[in-house]
């Protein structure tokens, strides 16, 4: 699988995204190496969430290409991209509040079960077997993320820290190759942030590639292998954390040029 030149799981080339006259992403190119944790940082409005929305298919880019495992995905719909193995979380929690913790994760397995109306309506054995299987799988994930004891609680009753973790669990359930995490530590206290970053590391240790948007620099510097810095939709720097920290253009973007 890891043939020469194919170690990039995601390749973004000359990506442009405009909304009316506003250019949210301009001529953006970068790659994500398979099995790494890559962080996307930048001041507010730099285009980070737009980038995620383009990668995961919520928006089609105005120009440019997104290649996943070598094949273009920029014009596929979100559910198709999910089926290919890209999963995501959201900046503001988008859990299914009306469902239990377990059901949220079970829904994450949706790409693998393709439920049929007739088969479920007549309660055919294959549907029941499938339910049992994904239920077990979902429980396994809940154990992994440490929410197994709350499996039956409505998702909306969890504290924010656990909701964020649950979203990551739900994203894991589709068995993705790449997970896009949109500010997993936003709004979390220090303990919760620690739990979240250990979890991200543990997921990465399973061989899953992670693309991460985050504002918490401590988290970024701790867990990411590579960082790409955006400002006004453009890439202003890219490299390992220690290099980014001392890059004058990055410092300028964040603090202004006095």
């Amino acid at each position: 699988m890891n043939a020469v030149g194919e170690d990039n799981i995601l390749e973004i080339k000359r990506l442009v995204m405009t909304f009316g006259g506003l250019m949210a992403l301009s001529n953006l190119s970068f790659q994500v190496k398979r099995g790494t944790i890559k962080a996307v940082i930048g001041p507010n409005g730099a285009g980070k969430t737009t980038l995620f929305n383009v990668i995961t298919g919520s928006f089609s880019p105005t120009e440019g290409s997104v290649k996943f495992n070598g094949s273009p995905i920029e014009h596929l719909k979100a559910h198709k991209i999910a089926g290919l193995g890209i999963s995501r979380t959201f900046q503001t929690v988008e859990l299914f509040g009306n469902m239990t913790v377990l059901e949220n994760v079970m829904l994450g397995c949706h790409t693998r079960i393709r439920p049929s109306f007739l088969i479920s309506g007549f309660r055919l054995p294959q549907a029941l077997k499938q339910e049992v299987r994904i239920r077990e799988n979902a429980m396994k994930i809940l154990k992994f993320i440490g929410l197994a004891d709350k499996f039956n609680a409505p998702a909306e009753n969890l504290p924010l820290g656990e909701q964020k973790i649950l979203e990551i669990g739900r994203a894991l359930a589709s068995d993705p190759e790449l997970i896009c995490l949109d500010e997993p530590a936003a709004g979390l206290n220090e303990t919760e942030t620690y739990v979240a970053s250990s979890l991200i590391r543990a997921i990465n240790a399973k061989g899953i590639t992670i693309l991460l948007v985050e504002h918490d620099m401590k988290v970024i510097m701790n867990i990411s292998h590579e960082i790409v810095v955006l400002n006004y939709g453009q890439k202003i720097a890219e490299g390992p954390p220690e290099k980014i920290q001392n890059n004058p253009r990055v410092i300028e973007a964040y603090l202004g040029s006095g």
Binding site: T56, G57, S58, K77, A78, H79, A82, G83, S87, R88, F90, E94, L95, F96, G97, N98, M99, T100, L102, E103, M106, L107, G108, H110, T111, I113, P115, S116, F117, S120, G121, F122, R123, A127, Q130, E131, I134, N152, R170, A171, S174
Partner: protein
Amino acid sequence: MLRIAKLPIALFALFIIVFPWIIRQIPAVDNYADIMIFAGIYSLITIGLSLLMGYAGQISIGHAAFYGIGAYTSAILTAHYGLNPWMCMFIGMTTSGVVAVLVGAPSLKLKGHYLAMATLAFGIIVYIIFNEETSWTGGPDGMSGIPGLNLFGFYFDSVERYYYLVWIVVFAVFIFTVNVIQSGTGRALRAIHASEPAASAMGVDISRFKILVFVYSAVLASLAGSLYAHYLNFINPSTFDLFFSIKLLIMIALGGMHNIWGAIIGAVIITFLNYEWLHYFEEFEVIVYGAILLLVTIFLPKGLVGVPEIIKGWFRE
């Protein structure tokens, strides 16, 4: 987990079985079996609509049209062409399903409440067709001569027999729908209702599921229409007007749209109000329906099925 308890379903089945026997003992209410037939027919429509509104979060103001397509397909093909009624029922359901795809697909691919507008217009168009195509439908005078139903020589020719036929169908549809709700399909529908961005990011094909449910609800409405035509042996367009579509929405709002039981409870109560208890109001009947809708939305947003929860809440305090 969303589990629909089995005990109430068993009690429901028992109630269906003994209801005709109970009312036979009370002369004052001996026409209630007849009303329950209509309640059953409406329940078929509201079960589908409750799935569409309560679970998929879409509104249809045109289900009277699918109800009418079922009724007129059965009526025309049996009365004019002498085809087998069961086959006509099936043809009606297929027709409604295809029409539902044509009406629903363009609007369900968009976000927002475009389906409500599309179905509103669709309902009015179909109503005009029923009125104007006199050579087929008999126009505003309606058409008669629709045969009754029989199965291998067993004729559903008494109120009680037809009652059992309708409610067995309702019960089967109810169980089928409960199974769907408790499966991966139902989970996907509730996910769409809770958060469309998250559902599609998890691989749920949102428009496919919405169209699927819309088609299912249209097919059920068509089945209900066929059962209606074969019971009354006569139909006219006024049964399938816009107000009936709205009445269906009132049934669901009153019963509670986030719960499949609400569909049946709402249908039964509104049917009894309609045929029995609201006669004193005569033309002011409409005001009563308006008042019901208003009061339910303000005080019982979860409908009558939400009442036990409210009472439990009082005791906890």
